[in-house]
Homo-oligomer: 362 residues x 2
């Protein structure tokens, strides 16, 4: 991938319409590959932050327009961009693929000048402030090589799209629109619906119960923090594929409830879960950044973080990420530093020598 | 905590009956605190591995016996240990608490010599080989200070139990047995049941679909890899508390399906999920605090983090948490500081005055 990214981009300028998580992350990555990027958003605050982060320029008639928008906003943005820059080619990155292709078939945009794609990457936090250039590293990025009638996408646009996917570290996978929508219903929309339903049960839980929450609850509900308007749109626009899956799950849930009521074993349900879990491939997930995590127990008082960061700077160790765990009334806190393996070694030795309470890295 | 662990243990010798993940992790931690430990298991392989890992010794009449067993095996093990070492006091660590206390009330063991506890820690992988001495670090560890009739646990045993919890890095929390069982039904058993059901749906998915799996599916199904026999027992032994929660979820799932069928918005379900998710306390228990997040765009080069942390120290602003977003090849990075609202105001003004690229807080 490193070799690849050194290739000359097949396009020089891109306007990215939509300065949320995905749009801004694409912008960051493209700029680092030498492409000129203009960030645009209807929200001036988002646009301002994205422009600063991406070092965005004002462009006239960019060769390519990336539409990084909710599906409902796609059609309008496409018409608008086409009217001011009719020579542009278009790439969308929305979560469902049948609907945008329908939108395009009704627009003035030449269907072969529109490439529908979907990067299988995201975060439960949104906005330009959560963007990162390596968001797509090693992630599957689906593209639809022909329109709904089977007409192939313009070869130059296809080449640009695949270049962009690879340059951003993604793994391009060609699929048909309906095949894509069926797949994401299972691996993305069903988990989202269930995580939301599960987290919704907590509203009536008492605080004493919730105080016992552990990693299991946290992981199963992480994506329940997702944006309601965005996910309402994604789920309802793909309800045709999602509904049969929900109905199947409903039937399994009823069977589980019956088993509990009649005092039967529920081991079969856990076994099925084991089997299903084992089918999830391991290679496409966020494996790009392998950090070593170094836990440092600190006195929970001001100045400790600054002192620790200074120690890192003193031995030229680069902190990739950092988390602070502490709570009122506790005398110690835990800072976990995400580092390269080599830096973790160096820092661990240095900190122990300076009297810090360092634990074994993981 | 560092001070605490240097205190002399109130007991010198412990037999741990059960050499699985939890028992062996307790053994590792206690030995590191200078306690003599004997690991025992009905499975000779597990016992052998645990004895090697823990550097277990053969003990005669240890002061304390920790029962780290599935709930169904507790009663038998308790009778056996009592018959060979009637002077011992007992601590159990099982996932439900009403049943063990019922077992004890029917046994010859003095009820005040039995302390029921439950560390809110575990891994989806089991066995002595997955054990780690820091498994309980910062985890809530529930203990039941009286039996089902309200008779208090022997003060020396209570002291030993609380010492053990703290020495292992856990946070002791007193609860009644029924209160505990209701709480774990919500925060542990319901997520387990749902994760298993969700993962079970993948069995009928085609490999092309599964190839698109991302972090969302991986996180929501992580605990679906859990041991079927163990979880069958945990869930069925707490079905009285779990059933109403499952029935409630079933009703919400039906409502969601109806909304999809009639083409209504499902935003409400996602919003409820947001609300429920926000109720999960931070890692130490205690309600999640509302922070103000201040984004600061930095040049991605060494020394920037240290400089920023020093600015915070200079105006006495306490950093509650901090995240760093950057990646190789990116020219800018983003540090987001989690602060109190007041501190965010102070710091924002100060940083802007010093020429930092600060964006609007959220």
């Amino acid at each position: 991938m490193a070799d690849f990214s050194e290739q000359t981009p097949p396009f020089k300028s891109v306007r990215i319409v939509g300065s949320g998580l995905i749009g801004t992350s694409i912008g960051l990555a493209l700029v680092s590959r030498g492409v000129e990027v203009e960030m645009v958003d209807v929200d001036p605050r988002a646009q301002g932050l994205a422009r600063d982060l991406v070092k965005s320029r004002v462009l006239t008639d960019p060769e390519l327009t990336v539409l990084a928008l909710p599906t409902s906003a796609l059609s309008g943005a496409l018409e608008e961009q086409f009217s001011i820059n009719p020579g542009s080619k278009f790439i969308d990155i929305g979560s469902v693929k049948t609907k945008p292709l329908l939108d395009v078939s009704k627009s003035k945009v030449l269907r072969s000048n529109f490439l529908a794609t979907h990067p299988m990457a995201g975060r439960e936090v949104g906005g330009a402030e959560s963007a990162r250039a390596d968001l797509f590293q090693s992630r599957t990025w689906v593209y639809i090589p022909s329109d709904l009638a089977g007409t192939p996408v313009d070869p130059d646009l296809l080449k640009s799209g695949i270049w962009m996917i690879k340059a951003l570290g993604g793994v391009p996978v060609a699929m048909q629109a309906d095949e894509h929508d069926r797949a994401v219903a299972l691996v993305s929309h069903l988990p989202q619906a269930l995580a939301s339903l599960l987290a919704g049960q907590l509203i009536s839980g008492d605080p004493t119960s919730l105080a016992l929450a552990g990693a299991g609850l946290r992981d199963t509900t992480r994506i329940a923090a997702s944006n309601p308007a965005l996910w309402d749109e994604i789920l309802t626009s793909n309800s045709q594929e999602l509904l049969p899956l929900l109905i199947n799950l409903q039937s399994d849930l009823s069977a589980l409830i019956s088993a509990f009521k009649s005092g039967e074993s529920v081991a079969k349900f856990i076994e099925d879960g084991n089997q299903g879990r084992a089918l999830i491939p391991g290679k496409h997930g966020g494996v790009a950044r392998e950090y070593t995590y170094l836990p440092v127990v600190i006195e929970d008082k001001p100045g400790q973080l600054a002192a620790l960061v200074s120690e890192c700077a003193a031995v030229n160790v680069n902190i990739e990420d950092l988390s602070i765990e502490h709570s009122p009334g506790q005398f110690t806190g835990l800072i976990t530093l995400a580092l390269s393996e080599n830096d973790a070694q160096i820092l661990s030795t240095h900190l122990i020598g300076s009297g810090w309470n360092v634990h074994a890295p993981r």
